[in-house]
Symmetry: C2
């Protein structure tokens, strides 16, 4: 067996779901703000589009996808970011963001038997696990990017010694878990480093459409929709050199169940993907592509979804303000990233002997005992140990129910 | 970029489809027996099941799949092969056979920086391109298995020096391109070698359900359905040690458009896949899983499909007998593997100066000029240069039309 397998950390979401299923099986009523899985309905017109797409005869889908889908994505990029993407040279469909992330890394790594080669991938120290897992499985090395006080990865960490060995830098804004948003100048700085050292910048923009008025997202605005978070694609336009962005319909259109997203950017990289991806079995079924065309072509349902999240977010922001719980970053995405109150330290909750501030695991345990699940920041990495992530994905009524509980127990 | 990318051969099916699309765009009427893509309808009850599976709310599918799907697959394995598979320990769903094949190899390779490690994958010299492409992309080495006169890979090629370095041996029966079927004794011999040297045997059984009375498939029968081709799983039962089989609904149920299959076998390997696969983004959408449950639970539509293929197959067998074209192997699958007649040698067709027998490229060119596409055997490798593969997937009427053409031009 591949020895890299034993170096993978347990997969967080599998663990979380198993734990939650076990508790539910015991009859425990749990309100889950732990997992970032949208719970709202997929809009009816999208479901209609997939049903219409199921035809008596079908064929093997192509990795390049339907021209209609590439065109819909390119048009969306144009409207949203105010930059021109060519459906043939700059865009490919993916089976959601995860496979796109997993399969990007091995394209950029040098031969691992050549120790002088580019075998380093820079990843924010708190990040979605799949970035690093793909690096580990492909025998390369993760370079953890320290987060600054604004929760943005500190680009100064890319010294010449690091830069020369770097194959890829992963960025992720709006961020999971912190909800942080980066200004366009940040993307420009990252691309300047990429140009200097010859690496690629990949941007996971899965949460790009979940932003809120007055949330600070406006600080990131470039061309395109005003007040919305920016994209690596804006900073990399018009040629998208060294840049690739990944997005998905999972969050934007409540389509986690469909596995549909896109990869856009550097035409040389897209060309290589058009060559490699037909071999790896990630072509998206055409009926899912038809539903995806409908979803990218419509913004009304996205605005409605943003409004739903904004209402839930407000509930928790108000609660945390009343309780003196400090919220940081959290400008966008459906996450609030907040500091664990000091009184929920490990000394009082789980018997550990030393702790100067609240411990996220003890805090999450305490909340779970009271029927509310949040993600302990320590789960994402050491830098998150004093924080927790609350995903405001349950319905407004359920959020209100949770706020009542938290009002009592916090 | 990964230097392995430049070592990949152009992807055959992408090339073929592009060429065919180009000709069609020019208004050329082409009957396509070149690509093994089923053209018959997906049965209505399967389409009903997917439509019912599209619910207002969905969630991220798990890589382990729905328990109902694992149970349906395990029950199917029991009925079909007469062996007991545990839905929890022996079975996982996949997004069709291709991704299962692509993603299996890296699990079994050792660290490529350790040159003494297992970095060799044995693949039949004529084979589906994806086996080898995954090996190349993961920096390992293909060991081509020579084919014997019966078109089965010669297991004697696995000498001690090869066996010690082997991570994986790929088998594929019923075979693409030859339609050959292996007896159970062959699988047993392969597993004995696997046990001696400590490698894994993987069996791509995508065509297992396409067999014909009196076709010789009966020679492979073990427990389970009589007269049908055998499976590695029968030879590896009850513990499936060192053995993994891949199957798909693409051919059996005309579901290429759906991307749904399974991986079954060695419980240690399945356990590792349950750990790794949630990270790689290949979880099958649940509505597709629902349709898959319906498909694995029904055999009536498979019998009807076999009967359709048998009728088309007979047309071409009769034609080739009349024309003195020698058919070899071709016991199962929807392929006929036949020798190019000597008079279609390259010297007369494409101007090449030396050839003692018919050349498959020249022959295929000649047929295409006459509106019939077949796959030149040389496309699959040197060993196939005097053969052609005819995939009898078009409708009976279209097959009759082609037979009329071939009656004239052969």
């Amino acid at each position: 067996m591949n020895p890299a397998i034993s170096r993978l950390k347990p997969y967080a979401f599998t663990q979380l779901r198993a734990r939650q299923d076990a508790l539910r099986a015991q009859g425990v009523r749990l309100i889950n703000f732990g997992v970032g899985d949208p719970e709202d309905e997929t809009p009816a017109f999208i479901r209609d589009a997939i049903v219409k797409g199921i035809t008596p005869s079908g064929r093997y889908p192509t990795a390049a996808g339907l021209p209609e889908l590439r065109q819909a994505v390119a048009a969306w990029i144009g409207r949203r970011y105010g930059v021109r993407a060519d459906p043939e040279r700059h865009v490919l469909p993916s089976n959601g963001a995860k496979e796109a992330i997993w399969n990007l890394t091995p394209l950029l790594l040098d031969d691992p038997s050549q120790r002088t080669s580019r075998q380093l991938v820079a990843i924010p120290e708190l990040a979605y696990q799949v970035y690093g897992d793909s690096v580990t499985m492909h025998h390369a090395e993760v370079f953890p990017m320290p987060l600054g006080p604004d929760w943005l990865p500190d680009l100064n960490a890319i010294t010449p010694e690091v830069g020369e060995r770097l194959a890829l830098l992963w960025l992720n804004f709006p961020n999971n878990p912190t909800g942080a948003v980066a200004p366009l100048s940040y993307y420009r700085d990252a691309l300047a480093l990429a140009e200097r050292y010859g690496f690629c910048v990949a941007s996971d923009e899965a949460y790009s459409e979940l932003w809120y008025d007055g949330s600070g997202a406006a600080g990131a605005a470039g061309p395109g929709v005003q007040g919305a978070p920016g994209s690596l694609l804006q900073a990399a336009a018009p040629d998208f050199h060294n840049a690739v962005a990944v997005n998905t319909l999972s969050k934007r259109s409540n389509m986690t169940a469909y596995r549909s997203g896109f990869i856009a950017g550097d035409p040389d990289l897209i060309r290589v993907m058009k060559d490699v991806r037909p071999r790896i079995g990630v072509a998206t079924p055409e009926f899912i592509q038809r539903a995806s065309v409908a979803a990218w072509n419509d913004e009304t349902h996205v605005e409605a979804q943003r409004a739903r999240y904004a209402e839930r977010r407000r509930l928790f922001l108000d609660l945390f303000a009343r309780k003196g719980i400090q919220v940081e970053a959290s400008q966008a995405a459906f996450y609030l990233w907040a500091r664990v109150p000091q009184r929920f330290g490990p000394s009082s909750m789980s018997g550990a002997s030393s702790a100067s501030s609240g411990d996220s695991f003890a805090f999450a345990e305490y909340l779970m005992d009271n029927g509310v699940i949040v993600l302990p920041g320590g789960f994402m990495g050491e830098r998150g140990r004093d924080y927790f992530r609350l995903a405001f994905v349950p319905s407004l009524d359920t959020c209100r129910e949770a706020v009542e509980i938290l009002e009592r127990v916090l």
